[in-house]
């Protein structure tokens, strides 16, 4: 399967949207408009875009702490993402989750999780549940290289194979798990893929700088997964920013490492170049569109409402009769 110019433009749009949203959030953070954590996917937008572009709206995605790109690429609106970071009631989670807690069922973006590898079994369970109803929808879990060190990841892959859950496990190998270089734990890129292959699960490794390659590799795996078996995709990217917005990454790597990498490897720049050759003007129009959408989203978030203290007590339970309670429910 080769990527058409139109498809490439869409991949570009998803990447630019993510970069633009994350840049806006970063700016708001630095300006003191947002408190809490924030994990930027700058430079690795290609993985989220390439994978999600190969999915259907009714497919499901679970994500990790670095999930803005996954959410946006799966169709969550910039407004809802930005608003959640601002802790506004019109955010994806009513403003009560904020960073690492984006959830949007309607888009099939089931959600981020703040526990490394925490969302991996979720995807497998959803995939299996969907299959059991006769659907050929699939689920995709995004996790980092670091997540593969959590035993739950391997347990889940094995369980998905055993119970034939149509789940695609995406491992975003961005070179770092916070301050830990991935090579020290797993070896060179592709090593994790080898482990999963040895487990008898179809696994591929792709150069994440090339969004079209990610897209095409995913398409192939998705076909396999829709057939009723799990698969695994290692996507080799690089973490340009510090681990989180307040991370002192200069303590464990060169101050300009991220920027240097981006200079010569930016997946967006590469596509932009190609698009300008293929279909002049289109990419620039996308840029304009995105700029406008994000500016509006920020404005709405700035003007948005915050949840009230009472909201802290809502939706603790789903069952009738248990929905609301103080601390000890007295019948």
């Amino acid at each position: 399967m080769s990527t058409t110019p139109q498809q490439l433009l869409e991949l570009y749009r998803l990447m630019v949207l993510t970069r633009s949203v994350e840049t806006a959030i970063e700016r708001a953070h630095r300006a003191g408009r947002i408190a809490g954590s924030f994990h930027s996917s700058l430079g690795q937008e290609s993985c989220a875009a390439g994978v999600c572009a190969a999915l259907r709206p009714s497919d499901v995605v679970t994500s990790n702490h670095r999930g803005h790109g996954h959410a946006l690429s799966k169709g969550v609106s910039a407004a809802a993402v930005i608003a959640e970071l601002y802790k506004r009631t019109h955010g994806t989670s009513g403003g009560r989750g904020a960073s690492m807690h984006l959830h949007d069922r309607a888009s099939g973006f089931y959600g981020e999780t703040a526990i490394v590898a925490g969302g991996v079994p979720w995807a497998a369970g959803v995939a299996w549940a969907k299959k059991r109803t006769g659907s050929d929808d699939i689920a995709v879990s995004f996790g980092g290289d670091g997540a593969f060190a959590n035993g739950t990841f391997a347990e889940t892959i094995r369980l998905a194979k055993f119970w034939e859950a149509p789940c695609l496990f995406v491992c975003e190998n961005n070179g770092w798990a916070h301050s830990m270089p991935v090579e020290r734990i797993f070896g060179p890129p592709g090593s994790i893929t080898e482990v999963v292959r040895a487990m008898g699960v179809r696994a591929e490794c792709v150069d994440g700088r090339d969004v079209a390659a990610v897209y095409e590799a995913t398409q192939e795996l998705v076909t396999h997964v829709r057939g009723g078996q799990p698969a695994f995709l290692e996507c080799v990217v690089y973490r340009v920013r510090a681990h989180s917005i307040n991370d002192a990454d200069y303590r464990y790597r060169g101050k300009t490492d991220g920027a240097d990498w981006l200079d010569s490897n930016d997946p967006i720049a590469a596509v932009r170049h190609k698009l300008d050759e293929l279909m002049a003007g289109h990419a620039a129009a996308v840029d304009d569109d995105v700029t406008r959408i994000v500016a509006e989203a920020v404005a709405r978030a700035e003007a948005g409402q915050s949840p009230t203290p009472e909201d802290a007590f809502k939706t603790v339970y789903a069952s009738e009769g248990l929905e609301w309670h103080g601390q000890v429910q007295v019948r």
Binding site: T113, A124, R132, T156, L159
Partner: protein
Amino acid sequence: MAKFKFAEAIRAALDDEMAADDSVVLMGEEVGALGGVFTVTKDLIDKYGPDRVMDSPISEGALAGFAAGAATEGVRPVVEIMFSDFVMLAMDQLINFAAKIHYMSNGQFSVPMVVRLPGGAGTNHGPQHSQSLESWFAQTPGLVVAMPSTPSDAYWMMRESIRLDDPVMFFENKNLYFRLAEEIDPTEGFRGLGAAVRREGADVTIVSAGRMVGMSLEAADMLAQDGYSCEVIDMRYLWPLDLDTVARSLEKTSKLAVVYEAVEYGGWGSEIASWAAAEHFMDLDGPVTRVGSHRVPIPVGVPLEEAVVPTPASIHQSVLELAKY
């Protein structure tokens, strides 16, 4: 009417719910071909097939997350953790995910899942197979905690738990599985998350749950010999707590003893004791009494176990002191 032992009653509940609702599935180690190490799921695989009675590899963590994940998509999994002690491998998925996703997602997802947790001492299985961990879960927002004491309750509470839209930690005491059989009237109906008064009395209110209900009743018999009449309340659920029933009893007795198999320190019984000492301070005519397990691991061997967990004798002794107060 047919009689059911505790294990059989749970099986009947699973069977009836599976027959009624295709979305109910069983998952766990040895639940299928073997039918459960305590026979609870015996023969269900023959009736419902391996797609609904699913033997799992020894991966409690992923299993809990997988099941909870499926639950967010409308499946109603009943997960067996063979011995409740093994749940420690699943805490992250149960507490950080299953218990919180409804809240975190602002209500977009719910987890209608039951986790079956055979627990408690008294079966010679040693320190890693005999703990009573219910207090941890009773403290945890997002979870319901069930702890039946009779076959009928086990039956109805399991059916009720399966129908709840939240994760239920369902504690089954291993000692009860093969105890006396009881009739289950299928028309009797759901328990409704409330407590049950097992014995009426006027002098002391004894609150307990699970295996401790029977022991409390034995102690109450002994106390009757001593000339004291005890009201014995079976809480059934450790969350939500039906404190109204306890309050009504305290109005009569003004004396409270809480009996529980979990470690006494900060166990669920401490919640009821603390509540009474706050809300019924003026009504109490004697010290709030707790009889829980000592804060030591559970050894093997009957005499040693009995030194650590409550027994009819130790309950009798503590409650007698309170009654005499």
